[in-house]
Amino acid sequence: MSGKPKKAFHSRRRREKTANTVSFLLVVFLALGAMFPIWWIFRSSLMTNAQLMTNPPVLFPKEWLFSNYTETLKSFLFWRYFKNTMTIIVPSVLAGTITATMCGYAFARLRFPGKKFLFSLCIGSMLLPGMVTLVPLYITWTKFLHLGGTYWPLIIPFFCGGGAFNIFLIRQFIRTIPRELDEAATIDGAGHIRILTNIIVPAIKPAMIVVALMMFIFLWNDVLNQMVYINSMEQYTIAIGLNIFRGAYGTNWKNTMAATCMSFMPGVIFYLIGQKYFVEGIVMTGMKN
């Protein structure tokens, strides 16, 4: 009598195990597929143009010509571009994270008139595509504030909470922290700002890291705004510099691929450093809407 369910249980266990093995094989296969383009670009950056045009193509270059990189660096001024990119990203990400935390805290914990209205304005702006406001903002920055040709139009918007999405994320995360902690601190005589800096901020560090990385990726990927506001060679960022380099050396594939690989590097390095926090942070935030 007890044998039948046991058997069923065992066969189910076995089926589950096969399913896990199949999933694993599929994951490995797909991951190889996803990584292959990166490998292909990388190996192309280490070969001569003649080797790149042989048929069939080789998977592993015979010798690794890192000299391609030194050659590319002569006209692809990576370090300058990197420095310029960081000049935009570092203040933006810092200011964005701090202001998003401030605003997220106010929405999560404080009571004030007009909260619902402000919050729905905030959520509404998440659905507003950035391209719609591009032209009016351009006119404001260049014609009224005369900040054309500087990085300010790219940086200042991040002093305003770094985007509704990030405020929302911080708010969601703060709401998962038990209120008793705040209340205990209030009894000890702490004000709201003290609670924010001494209790909330240490507790929401993972969410703050997620927000910082989100902003980093946004700026890192943004081409349109940089193309609109950056116009002198001294100011080129990695994205603009790479685009210009491709325009000039387009079919010189080995050098173009070397420049592409160099542009990949900072993102990869930051990701390797931050990935643990990042993924955990998203998981913890739960993304419950």
């Binding site: 994951v27 383009p37 045009m53 401030m102 106010a106 903002l137 002093f159 994205a239 990869v268 935030t285």
Partner: protein, 308 residues
């Protein structure tokens, strides 16, 4: 009784006011942002769209003329709507299927899960322009990897980025490749599906397929909706491939709406006209999100409503 509530109110009031003051103080950045970089520019774009303005001199009010011109004589505009929507459709459907599938696999008990998750996420971390330039080389007609594989399989070479038929699917493929962020959000969603439901169903004898369709998927619908919405808004705004690779070609096949707006505003200084395009775009997005929200009630499952 009345007296006590009265005194209570009195002692509470200053604290309340202080709390509100702190809140407004903390919200100054957000309020400034919402007013000056979101809603006022939106209104401005709407206003400017009724003017003819070259960027210099005084704008001239021309009523709806910009809109009339867009829908009647502009040689690019209607095509740009078509290609934008088509691209967004391909990219959204492709990346939703891909990322849901990968997340599903990664949600099983497999070795080194964190490592594989990182691998699938990596393409999302690469700067967009470098991604497109790298893929341009992969798509190369004569020496590209993809055409080599096609050739080996006996399929004729395809000029992916130069053939009007192929350029949108080819670009959508890149969007799918970089959709690692969706995978991570899906994974987070899977981990929030309550265990007890699965256990209960297992006791009732439901197999894993039944459990997937009747428990996992309903619990995932809010996350699917969120990813769908965000991925739609992102992909509708596609512009980087046109800026980096195709310049709108071949044959206007990649003259996306954002790219067209950029070209009118910054290459030929037709500010008013460009604003009309962005406003039409805004309406288009509003319609799409409206449809999504309207249909959402029929397919999104909210767990007993205890979230609210």
């Amino acid at each position: 009784m009345e007296a006590t509530t009265h005194t209570k109110k009195k002692t509470c009031a200053p604290i309340r006011i202080k709390e509100a003051r702190t809140a407004y103080l903390l919200l100054i950045p957000a309020i400034l942002g919402l007013v000056f970089i979101t809603y006022l520019p939106l209104l401005a774009a709407f206003g400017i769209s009724f003017y003819s303005w070259k960027g210099l001199g005084t704008p001239k009010f021309i009523g709806l003329a910009n809109y009339v011109k867009l829908f009647t004589i502009d040689p690019y505009f209607t095509d740009s709507i078509k290609v934008t929507v088509l691209f967004a459709l391909l990219a959204v459907v492709g990346s939703m299927i891909y990322s849901l599938f990968v997340a599903l696999l990664l949600n099983r008990k497999i070795p080194a899960r964190a490592f594989w998750r990182a691998v699938f996420y990596l393409p999302y971390m690469l700067p967009a322009i470098a991604v497109y330039i790298g893929w341009q080389w992969l798509y190369d007609t004569s020496f590209g990897l993809i055409n080599y594989i096609l050739c080996a399989m006996g399929i004729e070479r395809i000029n992916f980025l130069g053939d009007p038929k192929w350029v949108l699917p080819a670009l959508a493929m890149i969007a799918v490749w970089t959709s690692g962020n969706l995978i991570v959000i899906f994974l987070a969603g899977f981990q929030n599906v309550p265990r007890v439901y699965h256990e209960a169903a297992e006791i009732d004898g439901a197999n894993s397929w039944q459990r997937f369709w009747n428990i996992t998927m309903p619990c995932m619908t809010p996350i699917i909706f969120y990813n769908l919405l965000m991925s739609l808004i992102t992909n509708m705004q596609v512009v980087t491939p046109a800026l980096a690779l195709t310049n709108g070609g071949p044959g206007n096949r990649t003259t996306f709406m954002t790219y067209l707006m950029y070209r009118y505003a910054f290459k030929s200084n037709q500010i008013g006209y460009a604003c009309a395009i962005s406003f039409v775009f805004f309406i288009l997005i509003a319609i799409f999100t409206g449809i999504l929200f309207a249909t959402s009630k029929s397919w999104i499952f909210y767990e007993g409503g205890d979230e609210k």
